[in-house]
C-alpha cells in the first residue's frame, strides 16, 4: 500500500477523527493525500459540505500546499531534496537516475500510476544528503547503488515499510554540544521551579537572560511573553517547528531528542499567560517524528505535566501537533497562524502583532523550537546560566546547522558572536570562498568578511550555515535560490509574486550565458524593488543572495555576460515561429536575425 492509512479510511472517518473542526482541514487533507495519493474532487466537496466551508476555501487550501495534489501521484511518491547543499551531494543526479530507471519524467506520475519522482524544497537533512522522502518517510545518504535497488523495489511493488531500514536512518548530527544540548530537564522540573519562583518572576528571569528569538529574527523572547502577559483575554501558545529555511536542520534534533524541554517551555509560557491550548506547527517533512512526539505528550499527560491542574497549580494547559504540507512561507509567523486555522498560508497584515491578535483572533505567543527549549532551561537554571555566554547584544548560545563544503557537517552549539572564520575552523571548512549565513534569506559573505560575527548585531541566522569552496559557481547558487523563492512565494502581493519570477528569469538568462549588462542591472533594480515593496519577510529577503553575490563575486557574473551585445531579447524568435513554420511549410532563416 502507498500509505499506512490505506484506501479503506473513509472521508467520514477522517472528518470524525478531527472532530469536524474547521481549523483541522489541512490535517484532514493531508490524510486524504496519504491514503489516496491525491485529494479527489469528491473529497473537496465532502469537506466543504461537512465543515460548512465554501468549496473555494477547501480548493484554495488544496492548491496552495506542495504536498497536496488534485491529480493522482504514483503509488510510490518519491521526493528528492533540491536544497543547494543536497544538490552538491548529488541529489539531482540520483533523482534523475531513479527517474531514468523507472522511465518517468521528473514531477509526472508514470502512466501505470506506479510512481512519481520529484524534486522538493530542502527537507532538512542536509548534513546527511542527498536526502528525500518516499511516501512521506525521510531517507538519507542516497547513493546510486541504493537507487538501483530502490527502482527494483518500486517495480516489484514492495511497500516502503519493507525497504532496507538503513536508508531511513537519521543521525542526530550533533558535532558540538554547549549549555543547551548538555542540559536535559527531568520532566516537570522547570515547570516546578517556575511555579515555586512565581510565574511573573520567571518572566523576569527570561527577560533578564537576554534570550532572543532563535528563528533568526531575534525579537526578545521575554518582551514577547510580557506583551502577551499584559494583554487581556484568551491566549494561545504556538511553536514554529516549520524549519523550512534551506540548510536549517537544528530543530530536527531538538524535536527528536529534546521534546520534553520544548513542551516544558511551551507549558511555562502557557501557565504564565493563562493559555489553555498550544500548538506545535511542524513541517510535513518531519512527520516521521510524530509518533515519538505523541508518546512524549502522552507521558507528560500521565505525569500531570499537561492537561488539568498542572503540577498542582490549579492551571490547565494542553498541546497538539499540527503538520504542514510543503509551504516555506508558513514559517512566517502570521502565515503559520493562518495555516494552523486550516487556511492557505498567506501572511497577515501587520499591525496588529500576533501578541495582540494571533491564533483564532486571540493573543498568541509564537516562538521557535529552540527559543522554547532555551526558555525552559532558563526557567530551570536561571538567567545567568544563559546570559554568561554570547556577547552583549546577542546573549547565549545558538544551534547552527552546517552543511556544504566542510569536512564535518552537522549541528554545532556555539556562543553567539563567534566569527565565521572560527565556525569554519570547527567544521573543517577552511577552504571556503563563500559562506551563506541564514539560508537563502540570509547573507552571503566572501573571504574578506570571515571575521564578521554570527550574531543578531551582524550576521543573523536561524541556524543555517552553508559552505562553498572555490569549485562552486556562485551564480548557479544564486540562481537556485531564485528558483526556490519563485516556487515558495505565496502569491499574495504583486512585488513578490511577479518579482520573484522576474528574478528567476534573469538569473537563468545570465547563468545560461545569455545575459547582458542590462540584464544584470535589471536583477539589481528588481531585487531592490522586491526587497522594499513586498508584503512579508519572504519577499523582503528573496533577492538577498543574488544581490550579495553580484556585489561580492562580480567577476563570476561579468565573465559570463555577453560582452558585445548590450541587448538580447527575452524570447527566442525561432522558437516563437516554430508552429507557424510547421503550418506554412516555410523555413525562413530567422535565426540570423538575433544572437549573431
Amino acid at each position: 500500500m502507498a500509505s499506512p492509512l490505506g484506501q479503506s479510511v473513509t472521508l467520514h472517518d477522517i472528518a470524525a477523527r478531527h472532530l469536524h473542526a474547521r481549523h483541522r482541514l489541512l490535517q484532514m487533507l493531508r490524510e486524504v493525500q496519504a491514503s489516496r495519493s491525491y485529494v479527489p474532487e469528491e473529497a473537496i466537496q465532502f469537506f466543504a459540505h461537512v465543515l460548512n466551508l465554501p468549496i473555494a476555501h477547501v480548493r484554495g487550501c488544496v492548491e496552495f500546499y506542495s504536498f497536496l495534489h488534485t491529480t493522482p501521484r504514483g503509488q510510490f511518491d518519491v521526493y528528492f531534496s533540491d536544497s543547494v547543499t543536497d544538490r552538491m551531494a548529488g541529489s539531482e543526479i540520483v533523482a534523475k537516475r531513479l527517474a531514468d530507471r523507472l522511465g518517468v519524467t521528473l514531477g509526472q506520475p508514470r502512466a501505470d500510476g506506479r510512481v512519481t519522482v520529484s524534486m522538493t524544497s530542502c527537507t532538512g537533512h542536509c548534513e546527511q544528503a542527498p536526502a528525500g522522502l518516499a511516501n512521506g518517510r525521510v531517507f538519507t545518504r542516497m547513493t546510486e547503488a541504493r537507487i538501483e535497488k530502490m527502482a527494483s523495489l518500486i517495480e516489484h511493488g514492495v511497500p516502503v515499510s519493507e525497504w532496507p531500514a538503513e536508508w531511513f536512518h537519521v543521525d542526530d548530527g550533533i558535532r558540538e554540544r554547549g549549555i543547551t544540548l548538555e542540559t536535559f530537564i527531568p520532566p516537570g522540573e522547570a515547570i516546578r521551579t517556575a511555579l515555586a519562583r512565581g510565574l511573573p518572576a520567571t518572566l523576569d528571569e527570561v527577560e533578564r537572560s537576554g534570550l532572543q528569538g532563535r528563528g533568526g529574527a531575534g525579537f526578545p523572547v521575554g518582551r514577547k511573553w510580557r506583551g502577551a502577559y499584559e494583554t487581556k483575554g484568551a491566549h494561545y501558545i504556538t511553536c514554529n517547528a516549520d524549519e523550512g529555511e534551506p540548510g536549517t536542520f537544528k530543530d530536527r534534533v531538538l524535536l527528536a531528542k529534546y521534546a520534553d524541554e520544548l513542551f516544558e517551555g511551551m507549558t511555562i509560557a502557557g501557565l504564565l499567560v493563562g493559555a489553555k491550548k498550544g500548538y506545535v506547527y511542524m513541517r510535513g517533512e518531519y512527520e516521521y517524528m510524530m509518533e515519538g512526539l505523541q508518546t512524549v505528550l502522552e507521558e507528560r499527560r500521565a505525569a500531570g505535566l499537561l492537561g488539568e491542574n498542572i503540577c498542582e497549580s490549579g492551571l490547565d494547559f494542553d498541546l497538539r501537533i499540527h503538520l504542514g504540507a510543503g509551504a516555506y512561507v508558513c514559517g512566517e509567523q502570521s502565515a503559520l497562524l493562518e495555516s494552523l486555522e486550516g487556511k492557505r498560508g498567506i501572511p497577515r497584515v501587520r499591525p496588529p502583532s500576533a501578541v495582540k491578535i494571533g491564533l483564532f483572533g486571540q493573543s498568541t505567543i509564537n516562538n521557535n523550537v529552540e527559543s522554547f527549549v532555551q526558555a525552559a532551561q532558563i526557567a530551570w537554571k536561571g538567567a545567568e546560566w544563559f546570559s554568561d555566554h554570547g556577547e552583549t547584544k546577542s546573549r547565549g548560545t545558538k544551534l547552527l546547522s552546517i552543511a556544504g563544503d566542510c569536512q564535518r557537517p552537522g549541528i554545532y552549539e556555539l556562543p553567539l558572536g563567534i566569527t565565521v572564520r572560527e565556525v569554519l575552523a570547527r567544521c573543517g571548512g577552511e577552504n571556503a570562498k563563500a559562506v551563506q549565513v541564514g539560508g537563502p534569506a540570509g547573507t552571503c559573505v566572501g573571504r574578506d568578511e570571515f571575521d564578521r560575527r554570527v550574531s543578531y548585531a551582524d550576521l543573523a541566522t536561524g541556524g543555517s550555515i552553508m559552505v562553498f569552496n572555490d569549485l562552486r559557481d556562485m551564480v548557479d547558487v544564486a540562481r537556485q535560490f531564485a528558483h526556490f523563492f519563485a516556487h515558495e512565494s505565496c502569491g499574495f502581493c504583486t512585488p513578490c509574486r511577479v518579482g520573484t519570477q522576474m528574478l528567476k528569469h534573469y538569473a537563468d538568462k545570465i547563468a545560461d550565458g545569455q545575459g547582458t549588462q542590462r540584464d544584470l542591472e535589471q536583477v539589481k533594480s528588481i531585487g531592490e524593488f522586491v526587497k522594499g515593496y513586498s508584503h512579508c519577510g519572504l519577499g523582503e529577503t528573496a533577492p538577498n543572495t543574488l544581490l550579495d553575490t553580484i556585489k561580492r563575486f562580480p567577476e563570476e557574473y561579468t565573465s559570463r555576460l555577453l560582452a558585445e551585445a548590450d541587448f538580447v531579447p527575452d524570447f527566442d524568435l525561432d522558437a516563437s515561429v516554430t508552429e507557424s513554420r510547421a503550418l506554412t511549410g516555410r523555413q525562413d532563416q530567422l535565426d540570423q536575425v538575433h544572437s549573431d
Binding site: 480548493r59 484554495g60 492548491e63 502569491g491 499574495f492 504583486t494 512585488p495 519570477q501 528569469h505 515593496y533
Partner: protein, 236 residues
Amino acid sequence: MSETKNTFTLDGQPVVFEAGQTIMNAALAAGHYIPHLCHHREFKPHGSCKVCTVRVNGWLSASCTTPASAGAKVESEAPDIQEARRRIVQMLFIEGNHFCPFCVKSGNCQLQAVAYHLGMEDTSLPHRFPSRAMDASHPDVVLDRDRCINCSLCVRASRDADGKDLFGLSGRGIDTHLVVNSSTGLLKDTNIDANDRAIQVCPTGALLVKRRGYEQPIGERRFDAQAIECEFESKY
C-alpha cells in the same frame, strides 16, 4: 500643537483623519488621490497589490492597510515611489494577458487608467503569456482570467455586499488564480447576477457582463473624460 493631534502630512500637505482610519481612506476623504487597484473604500482593505505604497516616517507601507497616526510624515509622490508603482503596474500587465486595444473594458479599466496616471509607457519586463482558463459558462456573465490581477475585490464584494460568497483565490505564487465557489467550479452553477457588485468592482475586464461592450464611443469612456485621479480629487 493641538492642530497635529488628528493630522498627518501627505507630501507636505496636512490631512485630518478620524480615529481608526487608514492613511488611504483619510487621504481619499480629503480629496487626495493615492493610486490603488485592490482597494475600494466600500470593502475591507486587502493590501495585496501594493500600488498604494507610501513612505510613512521613512518606512514603506501599503497606505490602504496602514492606520493613520498623528504627526506622521507620509510621502506618496516621491520619484522612487512613483517609479516602484509603475513597476508594479508593469508587473500586473506582463503577468496576465492584457490587450487594451480590443478589450471591452478599455477606457473604463482602472488598471489601464492607473498605468496612464503613472506614465507607464511600456511594460519593460518579459511578458509571461500564461495560459489561463476562461469561464463563459454563464448566460450573462463571463470570467476571463487572462485579465485578472488577483486583487480579490470580487471575492470581498460577493461575500460582503452581494451576500453570495461566489469567489476565492486559489493556488500559490505565480499560479494564484480566481476560483468560483460552485461544485463544478463554473459560473453557470452559481446564482451570480449581471447586477452583482462583484462584477461592478472588478478593476479590469476579468468579470464582464455578456452582450454589453463598446457601449461608449472612444472619447466618451469613463477615463477619456478625466484621468483616474480626478475622480477622487474632483469631489472636493
